[in-house]
């Protein structure tokens, strides 16, 4: 575990005294209360660690599963400009997955371990990605509504008490807000386009609106993890609070788009200073969560297939690294890149993983799938899963 600090080690093999444990817990509580960041080497309650791993894993999984519904349209994008934007967006999501898996690794949980849990159906990803992208306008609706809901959820996470997660979220939120504007702009072009394009946009908004509202999770009185997470300042606002904020943001934006939201009960409530909205179908939410959504099986199957079909590639990279280490060669530069991305359409590239970054001097060849565990660990964990 990474949480063994020098202070704790000094307590010796006999373990900490009760008084010392109380001191550490008090220090943790005080840090959270003072809005200070908890860092990987700080003491933290096991339940805090477990909650963070669960949430960050779910978030990382959502990024990589979320690539699928949008990648579905890359090969059919109707203009080269839109194709570039969409490809960059899907690439950003892979990058977000990488930051988040790396942030989770600071809590002592490897990416391989988390991927295994995803593939085994033991960890979740956001249910929104279990809905299909049926037309091109869905790409816009996902950007506007799904990314919009994600930002509403995630901006407060930039102030999350756990440092690595908060810092990853700062970067992710910047890119998400770019995606949200691109989605809005895509829908605007359709809404102001031909009647067929306008209809396509309205149809997409009709289908994505309610699932987007469900992204904020169950109502506050039914949310299992909320209270403790709020006390730990992992979470800063309740599900319903964020949902309401999102509706307030969307109503004027829908008007600007010239599209309607498929809820006749949306109206301004003068007294509350917010919009009221209709009843959410929580049965649908529960069914999709249970695995009965339109694409649950398809999404997980594609993910597993990509992973299984890629096993020989990861094994080859690990075997190559082993051979060349055994021969005492200085490793050649891996398939990395040394230059920053350029152009507004291109994704910001994550700083420290083999696919995009120049390896640091003396590092292993960077074809291995996991930057922090190294190829041999990867090979072992792969064995265990196949």
């Amino acid at each position: 575990m990474v949480a063994v600090t020098a202070g704790r080690t000094a307590q010796g093999a006999a373990g900490m005294t009760e008084a010392a444990a109380q001191t550490e817990e008090a220090a943790f509580d005080a840090a959270v209360a003072a809005d200070e960041r908890i860092e990987p080497r700080d003491w933290m309650p096991e339940a805090y660690r477990a909650t963070l791993v669960r949430q960050m894993a779910q978030h990382a999984h959502s990024e990589i599963i979320g690539m699928q519904p949008e990648a579905n349209w890359i090969t059919r994008a109707p203009s080269l400009r839109r194709k570039a934007i969409l490809m960059a967006k899907v690439q950003d999501e892979a990058g977000h997955g990488l930051y988040l898996y790396s942030a989770a690794e600071t809590l002592g949980t490897s990416r391989d371990e988390l991927l295994d849990k995803l593939h085994a159906g033991r960890q979740r990803y956001s249910s929104i990605f279990n809905y299909p992208t049926l037309t091109w306008a869905d790409v816009g609706a996902i950007g506007w509504l799904v990314d919009g809901a994600a930002i509403t959820n995630q901006v407060p996470l930039c102030r999350c008490s756990y440092g690595p997660y908060a810092r990853a979220m700062v970067r992710i939120c910047k890119e998400e807000s770019f995606h949200q504007r691109q989605g809005f702009e895509l829908l605007l072009a359709l809404s102001r386009g031909t009647p067929a394009q306008h209809e396509m946009a309205q149809d997409a908004v009709n289908r994505w609106w309610w699932p987007s509202l469900m992204m904020f999770g169950p109502p506050d009185d039914a949310s299992a993890h909320s209270a403790q997470s709020m006390a730990w300042k992992i979470k800063r606002h309740s599900n319903d609070e964020l949902r309401r904020r999102f509706v307030d943001i969307c109503v004027p934006q829908a008007q600007a788009l010239g599209l309607t939201l498929p809820d006749p009960d949306i109206r301004w409530n003068e007294e509350r200073g917010q919009h009221d909205y209709g009843e959410i179908d929580w049965t649908e939410f529960q069914e999709v969560l249970k695995g009965n959504g339109p694409c649950n099986d398809q999404r997980l199957a594609q993910r597993r297939e990509a992973h299984e079909e890629g096993a020989w590639v990861r094994q080859a990279a690990a075997a190559y690294a082993d051979k060349h280490r055994a021969q005492g060669e200085s490793p050649s530069q891996g398939p990395g890149r040394a230059r920053p991305s350029d152009g507004s359409d291109t994704a910001a590239t994550p700083p420290d993983h083999p696919g995009t970054a120049a390896p640091s001097a003396g590092s292993e060849p960077s074809a291995g799938p996991s930057p922090s565990t190294g190829p041999e660990v990867t090979a072992q964990s792969m064995e265990a899963t196949t």
Binding site: L80, V90, A94, A317, S332, G336
Partner: protein
């Protein structure tokens, strides 16, 4: 604008094929890397096609026989080794070509000066993977060998002179052969010995003669644009 179309179509079509990997790559880092390469190529394609006309009209409204890309770039992805073999053959070619264009004084100088930096990365990416797959496991070695074998026949066409590109094409081919031979050798593999298309069908793709999978690729790429004539997106 024969040359802009030829080079632009190469980049457009290969970008499309690489885009098909999204969500299917063997490891998350490769999702990012393959998308990066696809985006670089798409950027090059847009610049080049815009020299020849309207980029979207050219991409979405031409028929198969009007595309001027080499057949190599339209070949389906196959497995990861097959894709890497295609990347090796093409990126080494493109790197050597763009180096020459960047050093020249023709109309592609500025584009090539920018693109050559991108393409150097594409080449490095491909070469490093050829080494790992060739000199990795028995399975990866065999898959890499099959990929090189299957695509070898399409490499001759790369060196058919393109009208308007004033370089020494034979010297380019010589440099390409020695670069590719060296990488493949270090990967404990050998280059195939079979025929290369250029030897018997000079410049097929450059003249609008393509392979069967290309028509299906275009059908997918163009269908939405064509379904809404005159619409803007």
């Amino acid at each position: 604008m024969t040359a802009a179309l030829a080079l632009g179509d190469d980049a457009l079509v290969l970008s499309h094929r690489l885009g098909e990997w999204a969500g299917h790559a063997p490891v998350l880092e490769e999702e990012v890397a393959l998308a990066n390469i696809a985006l670089d190529l798409l950027g090059q394609a847009r610049t080049l096609l815009s020299l020849a006309g309207d980029e979207d009209e050219l991409a979405f409204l031409r028929e198969e026989r009007s595309f001027r890309n080499v057949q190599l770039v339209e070949q389906p992805n196959g497995d990861f080794a097959h894709t890497i073999a295609r990347q090796l053959f093409f990126s080494v070619y493109q790197h050597l070509l763009y180096e020459r264009l960047a050093a020249g004084t023709g109309e592609f100088t500025d584009l090539a000066a920018k693109a050559v930096k991108e393409v150097a990365y594409h080449r490095d990416h491909a070469e490093q993977w050829v080494l790992r797959l060739g000199d990795g496991t028995a399975e990866s070695h065999e898959r890499m060998r099959r990929g090189l074998d299957a695509l070898w026949r399409y490499t001759g066409e790369l060196f058919e002179p393109v009208e308007g590109v004033d370089i020494d094409w034979r010297a380019l081919e010589g440099d390409w052969l020695s670069a590719v031979t060296s990488v493949v050798g270090r990967a404990t593999l050998a280059l195939p010995t079979g025929p290369r298309a250029g030897a018997w069908t000079a410049g097929a793709g450059r003249q609008g003669l393509h392979t069967e999978p290309f028509g299906r690729m275009l059908a997918e790429m163009q269908h939405l644009h064509r379904s809404h004539p005159g619409a803007s997106w």
